[in-house]
Symmetry: C2
Subunit: 287 residues, 2 copies
């Protein structure tokens, strides 16, 4: 089976490792805008060959793991190229735009929109991990529009990787993910900005910052190449979550200015309920 991967970074590289492990007689072709990354992925054997435009029609499986704006731009021509039994799977962090783009494509049945809830703050082929997808949720959108035989094959592969499959409407996906992922990234980026602007003396940050600071700014290391297109594509939902977050921060500030510590105490007691939610996440990811 010939597998073509667009984007050999954290996700694409980890998909290459999963394909190597779970797909018999696999040949992996890769493409990356960054020539150094592409060469590196050949050296560390994530891929077997570079993927040329002329090879596209030979691929049985095309995996799209590039920034979401590039994915939306290229999806139509990729579907045009793919042979009649090939499957094109997208792995981006936004789902409504790409589902919209392919809605009327004659080969719509050969497309599957997914979002694996898996990642780290690192990027590039060396960030690839064989177990990145183990015990993670794999969101599938508009499965009714994917050809049943191709859908079944894909679901089997995801299950072999140890993923839990969760069907979801693409518009709902983009709303929810703005809260539980995109907002976390913005809060972390801006926290990093605020501290670095103020604390010009980095030595003081080194010495005074503990694990709490590290934990909250970890995501501020994430690449703008991935995130700016996400902010663009999910702009409306992100603006809504961001407004609510800023409102909550302003409310906290007002309560602090008014010395209303009773109300702040009550609020934080309620927020502590997140403990059970986080335990739920861990429980989910252990099964």
């Amino acid at each position: 089976m010939k597998v073509g991967i667009l984007g050999i970074g954290l996700i694409g590289g980890s998909l290459a490792l999963s394909a190597r492990k779970h797909i018999p007689d696999v040949e992996i072709y890769g493409l990356d805008q960054n020539e150094d990354h592409l060469d590196r992925s050949l050296v560390i054997k994530l891929i077997d060959f570079k993927l040329n435009d002329a090879d596209l029609k030979l691929m049985d499986l095309l995996l799209i793991a590039i920034p979401v704006d590039a994915a939306s731009k290229q999806i139509v021509s990729l579907l045009d190229e793919v042979h009649d039994n090939g499957l094109v799977i997208d792995f981006g962090s936004t789902k409504a735009a790409i589902c919209d783009r392919v809605a009327l494509h004659p080969k719509r049945g050969q497309f599957l929109a997914t979002h694996p809830i898996a990642g780290t703050e690192f990027s590039g082929p060396d960030a690839a991990m064989e177990n990145l997808f183990l015990n993670k949720t794999q969101i599938l959108c508009e499965t009714q529009n994917t050809r049943p035989d191709l859908l079944e094959w894909a679901e089997n592969w995801f299950r072999k990787m140890g993923m839990q499959i969760r069907p979801m409407d693409p518009v709902e996906h983009d709303q929810h993910i703005a809260y539980v992922s995109h907002l976390s990234h913005i809060s972390s980026f801006m926290l990093g900005k605020t501290v670095v602007e103020k604390e010009k003396n980095e030595k003081t940050i080194f010495e005074m910052a503990g694990s709490g600071f590290e934990s909250t700014v970890r995501l501020a290391k994430s690449s703008p190449d991935m995130w700016i297109p996400i902010f663009n594509q999910n702009k409306d939902n992100i603006l809504e979550t961001l407004s609510e977050y800023i409102n909550n921060l302003n409310q906290f500030k007002n309560l602090l200015e008014a010395n209303d510590y009773d109300k702040l105490y009550e609020q934080i007691g309620e927020i502590n309920g997140i403990r059970e939610i986080l335990e739920g996440i861990n429980k989910t990811s252990k099964h």
Copy 2:
């Protein structure tokens, strides 16, 4: 040597373990407002005895690991009680208020204000860890006002625990710590609030939240008993950092509304510089 510990939680309990390990012939007396915690700390042998008011004058070392408002209230009478060669050490997250409170006390030389940059989001005696302080920074304030023989003893003990000692002015401490610790906690509390208010269906959070969300809201599990007094005592510095954070979030929002993705890209590229800062933190904490 008789050691009295006020507050047998994460910090006080870990200090008990460190005292047991590094102080010869130690007898540990403990006090906690929470009777269950106090009983538990006897059961798991963090402490040897309960500390009664009448015992205070017998203690050679008094360690204060209670919320910062209670510490400021009690410090004067604790110094009043301690015998002429006893040392009282405070371990709270704010330093200006308590240093102010004892400035004119006749036994000022028997007091040492510290802030160990160490902790987790857990609390209570079972959260105590023998290695909590290993490779962590220990900030000491106004060391010139502590009796040299007592200061030397304390510094030796901290070094035995594996801590790096860093003298700092208490007012400067409170300014810096607002950025690298207190703001992280507020950003995390409010992120938790925003997501939980919106995502009433917890199952969706469980399934869609990845490690990024977990990392940014981890601190939202922190206890209000500890944090409300900190917000109160460091109010002015926190309001300043919080205003800057909210400004940065509003600026991000404005750029997103204006579709100024070039500027956002540039900003996030700069913020990625936090990578080196975080590596610095890890490097520091490994030595």
